[in-house]
């Protein structure tokens, strides 16, 4: 049942995500800079950063144990597995049957947990602070994600990504149903929290007391830092593709025909640019929330998820 062509496209899709993820981050940074009347670094700046980091020497803390050395590979590996699952170009692919959206959430949580452990491993107060905050946000965003998934699954009759996308392709009008829109907003809020964007975490900060993600990875340098950063960009890419291709799956190929793949590639790029613009506008307009206001934001997401479930129930 696993056809070779499907698996090849699957792996190609993951490599494409890996290749495009730095560009997405570069695009967001560039758009933000433009909106803030700065010239900004070029879009390919993140590639240069990766190249530089991979060639650099590494400094490892004296306190670090093997957890510190294992974590980058677990974080990167689990994010790659997730990118194998997310429909970037084609759906459904063979790997679709291996894991569903709940599995995606828990695979990402595996990476988060290892990053938090690595943050604790060096014994720095910053690392502990970042870990504590990261796990706090991860814990309270779980219910919101679960309900957003649930509302999608209810409409599609399955939690597997392929089926969800296929169902919206089959019935385009459902993309505009209130439940669908609310689930999208709920997932978008969770995406901001999970990928460390404003208003939850500031990706550009180096002020210790406000850091979350930066505080955890403070002790990483050189190739390890490159892996951890690349993985976090890939996570953002995965969430953006999920938001684009699950909720608005138009353009996604359902066969392996070259023309369909080309259309899918173009449509995915357009969706990513739109989402990047959305994130950039938001990050320019919104100030960072106090840590203890974040639960309120995630509660909004939870309630939206609940309403999405309720509405998909009443509409049906």
């Amino acid at each position: 049942m696993f056809d070779m062509a499907g698996i090849a496209v699957e792996i190609g899709q993951a490599l494409l995500s890996l290749a495009l993820a730095p560009a997405l981050v570069g695009l967001i940074r560039w758009l933000k800079a433009r909106m803030q009347n700065r010239r900004g670094a070029p879009i390919w700046q993140p590639y240069a950063e990766l190249r530089k980091l991979f060639r650099k020497d590494m400094v490892v803390s004296r306190q670090a144990s093997w957890i510190f050395h294992l974590a980058p590979f677990v974080i990167f590996g689990s994010t790659i597995v997730v990118s194998l699952l997310v429909p970037v170009l084609v759906t459904p692919l063979p790997f679709n049957a291996v894991a569903d959206l709940f599995a995606v959430v828990y695979l990402l949580l595996l990476g988060t947990a290892f990053l938090a452990l690595a943050g604790l491993d060096t014994g720095s107060a910053f690392g502990g602070m970042g870990s504590s905050r990261e796990m706090t946000i991860a814990a309270i965003s779980e219910p919101a994600i679960a309900l957003a998934i649930l509302s999608l699954a209810l409409a599609a009759g399955s939690t597997n990504l392929g089926e969800i996308a296929a169902r919206t392709i089959a019935r385009p009008s459902s993309a505009l149903s209130p439940g669908h829109v609310m689930a999208f907003v709920a997932l978008f809020i969770v995406m901001l929290a999970e990928t460390g964007r404003l208003p939850v975490d500031n990706p550009a900060t180096h002020l210790e007391l406000t850091m979350i993600h930066e505080a955890m990875i403070l002790e990483y340098s050189g190739p390890y830092l490159a892996l951890v950063e690349w993985a976090s960009w890939l996570k953002l890419f995965v969430f953006a593709t999920l938001a684009g291709n699950l909720f608005v799956p138009w353009g996604l190929a359902t066969s392996l025909a070259p023309a369909a793949l080309a259309i899918a590639f173009a449509s995915t790029l357009v969706k990513l640019v739109i989402i990047a613009a959305g994130v950039a506008v938001l990050e320019t307009r919104v100030a960072k929330l106090r840590l203890f206001r974040v639960p309120e934001l995630l509660a909004v997401s939870f309630v939206l998820g609940l309403l999405a479930v309720a509405s998909s129930f009443s509409v049906r």
Binding site: G77, A99, A103, S131, S158
Partner: protein, 679 residues
């Protein structure tokens, strides 16, 4: 399928545990320890083998002993598949725990009676195995009470520690409250039948009981079995008694004994009563959600490693009951396929939790053994001094946090999936209830991840926070072997999900009108839930995850050529890192404690001592925080006070004077004679 009699294997199991108990006759503590370990392993291996044979349909156990306790109807044993699932858990956990226990009790011989402990351990293991094999009420209750008493004795093994004795007292009181409820439930169920009330007769009779009686039986059984399983609010003994016991006993109690409460609930409410109205399921879902959240919230903020694990047991029992409740709900809504999935998910979690909670308690015991510390705030850096313990604990922590690719993830995923048919159900009230259930499940999962990042990260990583932690030593071979066996069981159970789940499905087939396994969910390398709601393959996820991690590692070896330098952790330019700069367990949980502050209602006490003459120069700051579950005060304090008042009233009768006692006897005699003559 021939019904081969497996009675000899059953007797072999009992014999093994009897050998374990015979350590009481050993001449020296060392011999007693060895005899107990060997007997327990032999008995547990026989029990596990027996359970596997029964689950495979290779035979049954049917033993009737009418002559034992003939006046009450005699003992009788019959091991069906439902009981065999639990017997497999007992056997599977006992083997590594007994090996570990041999090493762990090494230091006990000089302080406590090893011979008593052998007797208690052997009888405790035997009684647990008999509970799941009992086929009449007399046998069941005898085994149940024997299990309660021996486990209580094991809790107070370290009887020179006040917290052990106090925890034991809580346990003794709660378990007997539970027993009272069970007695009442069985009396209602047995009604006017005679003899020892065999389960078959009760099953036949239960159909004709009036609804009011059935509801009363269900509620009493929920109270009785719930208090053993640790359902909120009758869980109060669990976080007090489980940590107080010797660590290998804690593992047995948390990984195995609490599950027998689930077994009892399934046996009475599902098997004997055959399910009930929808509100049974609703009540169980609500109780499960409250239990899971309460357990994980208190586990999160606890700084005592063993009590943290005990609270996490409360949490996991909550998850199991959540699945069970969904099962009852679907059964009452005439959705047997969905019900079978929910019950199967709950039972899979029973099996999985036994593995990871076992390894976590053994790991905590090894930490206690190595440092004499249970306070996470005084641990740290143990990964370097106790690498085996750390690795085993990490596997357990990742599994219990439901992270792939380990077994906890599989059962939590299945629990999620078992809720979906209900959310899609046509009844709005059911859909809303189960949607909230999914929310509770997800929040519990997230908080559990935070809890175990804290438990592992603060205890094992960074620098040691006390001299005890700095001078920790690795556990001996026996303790290491026990921990490694249970740690390996976590990925193994994830790989073996399919056979385990099909055995569970087979065990549930026919119980309480559930359909047989083959129709409920398709099994292959890929799990598929009914109506193709979801598909997932733990094995392939594990393989791809490993391949991806190793692939990235190899790629990085090719790409990067830089050297590696070892240096201090960055400290803003300050030189000389100390453990006082590290995050502590209390600090780690602080954000979540503040977010859920309304639920915790902690009492904080901050004292700032200023330098005399200047309010800007501070001499000392002391911060003290206490977290006593407020609802326990609300429920149990009045009860305890009422009991004490009643006891002091009764004490007036017990003057200690023989004359007064003789007067009471005469008085009672006169009253009785008067009654006899009067009739």
């Amino acid at each position: 399928m021939s019904a081969t009699s497996l009675d000899p294997l059953f007797w072999a199991m009992c014999g093994g545990f009897a050998i374990a108990a015979s350590g009481a006759l050993a001449p020296a503590p060392r011999v007693a320890r060895a005899v107990t370990a060997i007997g327990s392993v032999a008995g547990a291996a026989a029990g596990l083998w027996l359970a596997c044979l029964v689950l495979a349909g290779a035979g049954t156990v049917s033993i009737v002993m009418p002559s034992v306790l003939a006046a009450a109807g005699g003992l009788s044993f019959h091991l069906d598949r439902l009981g065999a699932v639990f017997l497999a858990v007992i056997g599977g956990v006992t083997i590594p725990v007994a090996i570990y226990g041999f090493g762990y009790t090494g230091g006990y011989g000089s302080r406590y009676s090893m011979r008593w402990m052998s007797l208690q351990t052997g009888v405790f293991l035997l009684s647990m195995s008999l509970v799941v094999a009992a086929s009449n009420v007399l046998t069941f209750l005898l085994a149940w009470e024997l299990m309660a008493v021996t486990s209580w004795l094991l809790v107070i093994t370290e009887h020179d520690r006040p917290d052990a004795v106090r925890g034991g007292l809580w346990y003794l009181a709660m378990t007997h409250m539970g027993l009272l409820a069970l007695l009442a439930a069985f009396f209602l169920l047995g009604g006017d039948q005679t003899g020892a009330w065999p389960f078959e007769a009760l099953r036949d009779g239960a159909a004709n009981l009036p609804p009011g009686t059935r509801n009363a039986i269900f509620l009493l059984a929920l109270l009785g079995f719930g208090s053993k399983a640790g359902l909120v609010p009758v869980h109060v003994w669990l976080p007090r008694a489980h940590p107080a016991a010797p660590s290998h006993v804690s593992a047995l109690m948390s990984a195995v004994m609490v599950k027998l409460g689930i077994y009892g609930l399934l046996r009475v409410a599902l098997d004997l009563l055959g399910g009930g109205p929808a509100w049974w399921g609703v009540l169980l879902v609500a109780a499960g959600a409250v239990t899971a959240l309460t357990g994980v919230l208190y586990a999160l903020v606890d700084d005592d490693l063993k009590r943290l694990l005990a609270y996490s047991t409360v949490e996991n029992v909550g998850l199991i009951v959540l699945g069970t409740g969904a099962g009852f709900l679907f059964l009452s809504l005439a959705q047997p396929t969905a019900a079978a999935l929910a019950f199967a998910a709950a039972l899979l979690h029973v099996v999985n939790h036994a593995a990871f909670k076992g390894v976590l308690f053994l790991g905590a015991g090894a930490v206690l053994h190595a440092t004499g510390e249970r306070d996470i705030n005084r641990l740290g850096g143990l990964i370097k001094r106790t690498p085996w313990t750390a690795a085993a604990f990490l596997v357990g922590a990742l599994s219990i946090a439901a992270l792939p690719p380990f077994n906890g993830f599989v059962s939590e995923w299945l629990l999620f999936q078992s809720f979906l048919p209900g959310v899609a159900s046509s009844r709005a009230s059911v859909a809303v209830l189960l949607t909230l259930g999914v929310g509770a499940l997800a929040l519990t999962g997230g908080l559990a991840a935070a809890t175990f990042v804290k438990a592992f990260g603060i205890s094992f990583l960074a620098m040691p926070r006390s001299p005890e932690a700095a001078n920790a030593h690795e556990a001996g071979w026996a303790m290491r072997a026990g921990m490694v066996m249970l740690a390996l069981a976590c990925p193994a159970l994830a790989i073996l999900t399919v056979p385990v789940l099909s055995a569970i499905g087979g065990a549930l087939g026919g119980v309480g009108g559930l359909p047989a396994a083959s129709t409920t969910f398709r099994l292959g390398v890929i799990l598929e839930t009914p109506h193709a709601l979801a598909r997932m393959s733990p094995v392939i996820i594990m393989a791809v995850l490993a391949a991806a991690g190793i692939g990235v590692w190899m790629a990085m070896r090719l790409v990067s050529r830089g050297s590696r330098r070892i240096d201090d952790t960055w400290g803003c330019g300050r030189i000389g890192q100390t453990s006082r700069m590290e995050y502590t367990s209390t600090a780690f949980a602080e954000p979540l404690r503040r977010i859920f502050g309304e639920l915790y209602r902690p009492t904080d006490d901050l004292t700032v001592t200023e330098q005399p003459g200047s309010p800007y120069h501070i001499q000392a700051i002391s911060y003290r925080t206490q977290l006593h579950p407020w609802f326990e005060r609300g429920i149990y304090d009045p009860l305890v006070r009422a009991t004490q008042t009643a006891a002091s009233r009764v004490r007036a009768l017990q003057s200690g004077s023989i004359n007064a006692y003789l007067a009471y006897i005469v008085l009672v005699l006169v009253v009785l004679l008067g009654m006899v003559i009067g009739f």
